[in-house]
Point group: C2
Chain length 293, copies 2
């Protein structure tokens, strides 16, 4: 098994997008605090239409106001070429574009078909490359769709083949609504392998999925401090896997992340105050296993 | 990997013991509802001193009032010979006695040393056997102690050797405060193997631990419907792994449990109403992965 894992912290984007809006300065403080934990990558903002996702309407202000740590790689998520233009102009070097394996989910999320998104991505990639930035394609609903049910791994594989042919630099599989399980991770990765996995912990299998993926050689994972970000289709359900729970398990296994767990828990406490609700992270509640009574 | 797993439902005992007391008739209704889910084993009550654990003061009334399903094996937990006598008199055929691998935890939990508990267990086993019942020794704090920290696997192995020599029929390892991780499961099971594992999900690793244990050939697990039962040392932290989360993952892997997941979720909803707080079970909140929007 690998001796190191690279974690991308996604609370500022995927986390906050699924919470009630918080002030710009609170976002900046959260990102700056995360930048000091040792985490190597942060998904900072998304450039989406403010009517679609008002939580991200201040993306330019957040990016301009935060302190850029030279040891951290910051990325922005975009839904289409228009968003990619904004991310380029803002100076992002790593741009993620999302497309759903499920057509119904893509229409609900991006208001167009998966095929139309793929055409747009094909046009977007050279524009991003011209600016010297990279494109990661995040395949949402890779492990299942809340509207269509199971997604055939071969459909995901076809989509990956298409975007790779169009020049995508990296591929991530998103477990958008927590439908991944150890079995589904094995099934999909037997068919096609991503660079990075993005799991939610909607049904308790978050870290079991990570364990399965580690066993299959995956070494890059998304996670959200405090587990912030819920599931939009299941009120009250947990969101992304909590970064501190992931780090806690990995460090215990002797797998390095570069992250200071104590600092990270302090950021989770701060995030909980900002969000204003009790977060679902066990390591936030109980501390590391080595914390004695 | 195994094709079937045997789950012991522990909500009526380990779950309720760590919640505010509920009425006797609610306990009876919970056990009767669980008995109809297809689960093969239920830890129904414990015979402990009512001053120590007032939540279990009505153990005799619960056992007398519930409907015994002939397809379910019911067990009682006891802390000592006195409790075992009560369980015997009540007619239990399966008796669990608890002892902590950590001396400090044993003193806090049972008000005596681990060595004294072991002597008592040695005296208790023949009495239980005379009544035609079996004794399972549950080794609490097998994966760590909230007062002492890490527990050496060789200490657990010595304890197991002792109680097996004294006639224990079965051994369970209890992850009393959720200190188990995949790494700790591997470390301990490399040294000594139990018949059954009892995990908490205090730090998000509950199902990851199960996955690791399955990989090592373990086929019996405790779980608590709705994940009821908290961690006494970490207010607000999750308790036992939720039975419906365990069943959901196992069935998805093609591993049979005999349990009807839909019925089980209905019982979890009922348990949540009785307990009167939002339970930490993801499958209770979001439903199975196949539940569409």
């Amino acid at each position: 098994m690998t001796s190191a894992v690279s974690i991308r912290e996604v609370a500022p984007r995927d986390g906050l997008q699924n919470e009630a809006p918080i002030p710009t300065d609170a976002k900046i403080a959260l990102i700056d605090a995360l930048s000091g934990t040792g985490v190597g990558r942060i998904e900072a903002v998304s450039f989406v239409h403010p009517r679609a996702i008002p939580q991200m309407a201040d993306a330019d202000e957040v990016w301009a106001g935060m302190t850029r740590n030279p040891d951290v790689r910051y990325s922005a998520l975009v839904p289409n070429t228009r968003g990619a233009e904004r991310a380029r102009r803002a100076g992002f070097r790593e741009i993620e574009v999302v497309v759903s394996a499920s057509d119904t989910h893509n229409r609900r999320n991006l208001n167009r078909s998966t095929a139309d998104s793929l055409d747009d991505i094909a046009a977007l990639i050279p524009l991003v490359h011209e600016a010297g930035a990279t494109v990661e394609v995040i395949v949402a609903t890779s492990f299942g769709c809340p509207f269509e049910g199971d997604v055939d791994p071969s459909d995901v594989a076809s989509l990956v083949e298409r975007v790779r042919a169009d020049g995508a630099d990296r591929i991530a599989f998103g477990d958008t609504t927590g439908m991944a399980t150890p079995r589904r991770v094995r099934d999909l990765l037997a068919e096609v392998r991503p660079d990075l996995l993005h799991f939610h912990d909607t049904r308790g299998t978050g870290l079991a999925n990570v364990l399965t993926a580690l066993d299959l050689g995956i070494t890059e994972f998304d996670a959200s401090v405090g587990g912030i970000g819920g599931c939009p289709y299941a009120p009250g359900a947990a969101g992304n896997i909590a970064t501190e729970e992931l780090v806690h398990m990995l460090h215990d296994m002797g797998i390095a992340t570069g992250i200071d767990l104590d600092k990270l828990i302090t950021v989770a406490e701060m995030a909980e105050k900002v969000i204003g609700r009790t977060l679902a992270s066990g390591v936030l509640r109980a501390g590391p296993r080595t914390r004695l009574v």
